[in-house]
Amino acid sequence: MSPFRLFWIFVKVSSFTIGGGYAMIPVIKEFIVDKYKIMKEDEFLDVIVTAQTVPGVIAINTAMILGSRLAGLWGAFFAVLGASLTPFFIILVIATFFTDFADLPVFKGFFAGARVGVTVILANLSFQLLKKSLKRYLILIVIAAGTVAIVFFNISSIWVLLLCSILIYIIDRRLAR
């Protein structure tokens, strides 16, 4: 894959990432897995997981891993550039011309609506990923407990990811026996 194509994919992806890094996961998946079929879903999830295991801006971590997997060093460079340029320029325009833009009804309305859209695409992705383990009740319980721990008890997501994965690993081994 050419680095410039990666650049454009990440420009598009970062333009629709409203409300934090997670919102970009369904958008990238649509491009990389569903539309262009460059990666399988499992491979893509491995990239997402790896990006979460180290500190840093998750969007940039993801862009770097995907870029380097698909097009080497230049791929990583252009993916990161694409992921950071759009937000950079949007914020620059806002900071220069209208800091009070957040009060304009048009923008307020747009982003209030768009965040509902982001919720929907994230919920849809969650359902897709859960479908595979619908019959493994123990794993569903672990995932539900992890979600509750993050949302209601503000436990750091890295600990939830590690603990949930260790439990799921143990459950998988027990079931395999």
């Binding site: 500190p55 840093g56 971590n61 992921a83 048009v106 982003f111 609506g113 768009a114 982001v118």
Partner: protein, 177 residues
């Protein structure tokens, strides 16, 4: 010099921020409000709400915004590069580590568990954005409608985000008349 200070502060944020934007917020607040006094708390909270409303990762948005406020365009470039750069280091490290690890253990089994563990993180992001954005009967109906369209017609997730945004504009701008 202010440009170096900006770069260094955001470099530290990128280096230590675990778990993406929400995890990084307290770290950003520490550097911007408590340590360097670049903004007071009220300005900081306005900035965060702008960062959450505009496209892009929260860490990059706030780096660009604060950099511009403190030292114009050069400031915004320095702080954005500062927050992005640590990802290069971390990703390089984790990819090397994974390669090394795969010699000793079968990492595919570990990743099988991690792929399910990450669903808890995606679900919790869904809930967090959902709780904030779906706060009225109108947004609930919009959400259900968008979800049905997404799963029945396999529309691009980008159109879902744009479409819900447009409905939001129509709702807030046209409805009062």
């Amino acid at each position: 010099m202010i440009l170096i200070e900006l770069f260094w502060s955001f470099f530290k944020i990128g280096l230590l921020a675990f778990g993406g934007g929400y995890g990084a917020l307290s770290l950003i607040q520490d550097q911007i409000v408590n340590i360097n006094n670049w903004m007071n708390l009220e300005e900081f909270l306005t900035l965060i709400s702008i960062s959450q409303m505009t496209p892009g990762p929260i860490a990059i948005n706030s780096a660009t915004f604060i950099g511009y406020r403190i030292a114009g365009v050069p400031g915004s470039v320095c702080s954005t590069v500062g927050v992005v750069l640590p990802s290069v280091f971390w990703i390089f490290l984790i990819l090397k580590l994974l390669k090394l690890l795969s010699r000793w253990i079968d990492t595919s089994e570990v990743f099988n568990a991690l792929r399910l563990g990450i669903v808890a993180l995606i679900l919790s992001a869904t809930f967090r954005i959902g709780i904030e954005s779906i706060n009225s009967i109108f947004t609930l109906i919009l959400g259900i409608f968008a979800f049905v369209i997404l799963s029945k017609f396999r529309l691009s997730v980008i159109w879902i985000v744009l479409g819900t945004g447009l409905v939001g504009v129509i709702w807030t701008v046209l409805l009062p008349f």
